[in-house]
Amino acid sequence: MTAKTNTDDYLRMYTQMVRIRTFEDNANQLYLSAKMPGLTHMYSGEEAVAVGICEALTDSDRITSTHRGHGHCVAKGAEFRQMFCELLGKEEGYCRGKGGSMHIADQSHGNLGANAIVGGSMGIATGSALRAKLQGADDVTVCFFGDGATAQGLWYEVMNMAALWRLPVIYACENNGYSEYTKTEEIAAGSITARAEAFGIEAHRVDGQDVLAVNELAQTLAARCRKGEGPFFVELMTYRYHGHHVGDINREYYRSKEEEADWKENRDPIVRFRGWLVAQGIATEDEIEALNAQVKQDAKEAVTYAEAARYPDISEVDMHVHAETDPATLRPGA
């Protein structure tokens, strides 16, 4: 409970969680009203994971994100406008509309991007940490992925190198109990933490619905990474409220309504943290309501803005296939 030592920090954590939930509610609404191209994966229910971790990081720390990436993006400092623009394929989006929900990235805050290949960013995150080590930089990289992603062989390959070379990377496994329509226990043998430990990596398991617990652990591990004590593994126990994606409405064949209700009613990370804030006298109910209302208002404005925003000009279609290389650097002696 002492992870963040002042009121502003607590309130920012709370606000960031509400911003994620609100972002997702609006994104879902855009889908349901057929205003969003394609599908998207909601982060609702898992807010304490992204916020607890990203609040322990600075802008020069990097993260890699997943197909369920809006939460990481908001938590790492992104703005609603560019995010909604991206989800709608508009030019002002973080990726000029070319990436969309599954590839949203926000370079300026150190978000190296969502990834539509499960586990696909494990190498990228570890490589970012390798670069930090080689260049003597003291930034940390957090690699977010789901429980399902632990089935990708890539993870074991990069953990081995991270451990051998003591890289400043934290593998953060968001265990929400499911990969798509399958329960984790049906597709993961043995113990997930033991898999990291087998490579000599210190592993932790934490309640992913408790933002302060997550944040405290993340602060400790990030600090230790900076001292060269990495890598680390953290398994965060959490739950996704929506279906696998926004179109996954009838879920009873793979999980019960009771189970969903239990998580929502008894373990909601926002409700829990709100209760704590009020109990500690950090904020009054009225202040919280005002804050919630403000976030709602911000989201609404951003959605309106994004809906009205321009699509990229069709001439952009073959821009950015290759990055430019300054011809001057290609001369001898350059």
Binding site: G89, H103, I117, Y253, V317
Partner: protein, 331 residues
């Protein structure tokens, strides 16, 4: 004849083959209770049980590897690869292991397995869920590659794929799963290496694969209204390729456009066009044109995505110009 969806056709083909041959089984991510995200395989686990319809972890190289080993030792696995874009993950198992076993063992080992996956953009799924990667596998000796263009082909080619003694990759168009086509009640198989002349015509040959067959047919209709008779041919399998049927048509029409949804450069259209140029050169009145997807990662934004793949107007336009004797690029 009854009409069923492509999705249903695939489901029927697999069910029929699993009933016929007890060594056949199905594996992949969320193939059992969920019946895949596209619901193509719904109902199979109820009939065949979880012993023959296996939900796997998200381990594409792993379960493709398992299929290779099972196939080498007496089973006939059908593997579901949820998106064609995941082919990159399984290339070693598919191309170094499955494709080469028969040859490397001097004909002693065989790998009778089917990898079913999909292709196709314009679903707003962005660069890693929209690729059409048939050219990659078509390049590798030892594989066979089928590209059904409707429910009818999807069923007939799948049944042949399951019975073939080689690793077969079959690409379904993910945008076509709900499209209906006439499919006989009676059992039928479509042999590999037999192109299908979808429409006859004397002025120009449109050779199109999978998703592009409809595009070619629409273009042919437009052209017909203008008095240009286009012949539309669907090769159905690109390995083996029915060169004879393609050549015969091109020798008749003297003009051709090859259309495929993979990236144009170093893609499927290049191979087909090259063969026509090589073997029907003196019959051609104009260069064989190619229309593939643009050489760009598939953009998310609808405004951009739609223009990356060949469309009927573009095909008709090129056909008109070829028939009018205009040389598209020639200096």
């Amino acid at each position: 004849m009854r009409e069923i969806t492509l999705s249903r056709a695939v489901n029927e083909a697999i069910a029929e083959e699993m009933r016929r041959d007890p060594t056949t089984f199905l594996m992949g991510e969320d193939v059992a209770e969920a019946g895949t995200p596209f619901k193509v395989l719904s109902g199979l686990v109820e009939e065949f049980g979880t012993e023959r319809v296996l939900d796997t972890p998200i381990s594409e190289p792993g379960f493709v590897g398992l299929a290779v080993g099972a196939a080498m030792t007496g089973a006939r696995p059908i593997v579901d690869l949820m998106f064609g874009d995941f082919l990159y993950l399984v290339m070693d198992q598919l191309c170094n292991q499955a494709a080469k076993q028969h040859y490397m063992s001097g004909g002693k080992l065989t790998v009778p397995m089917v990898l079913r996956t999909n292709l196709g953009a314009t679903r707003r799924s962005a660069a890693q869920h929209s690729q059409s990667l048939q050219a990659l596998v078509a390049h590798i000796p030892g594989l066979k590659v089928a590209m059904p263009s409707s429910a009818y082909e999807a069923k007939g080619l799948m049944k042949t794929a399951v019975r073939d003694n080689n690793p077969v990759v079959i690409f379904e168009d993910k945008l076509m799963y709900q499209d209906k086509a006439p499919v006989p009640e009676e059992e039928y198989l479509i042999p590999f290496g037999e192109a299908n002349v979808k429409r006859e015509g004397r002025d120009i040959t449109l050779i199109a694969t999978s998703s592009m067959v409809q595009v070619a047919e629409k273009a042919a209709e437009t052209l017909a209204a203008e008095g240009i008779e286009a012949e539309v041919i669907d090769p159905r399998t690109i390995v083996p390729l029915d060169e004879a049927t393609l050549l015969e048509s091109v020798k008749k029409t003297s003009r051709a456009i090859v259309i495929d949804e993979g990236h144009q450069s170093y893609g499927v259209t290049a191979e087909i066009a090259s063969r026509l140029n090589e073997k029907a050169f003196y019959h051609l009145d104009a260069p064989v044109l190619r229309m593939g997807a643009m050489d760009v990662p598939v953009p998310f934004s609808p405004a951009l995505e739609d223009i990356t793949v060949p469309a009927p107007e573009g095909v008709a336009d090129n056909a008109r110009r070829l028939c009018a004797g205009e040389m598209i690029h020639a200096a």
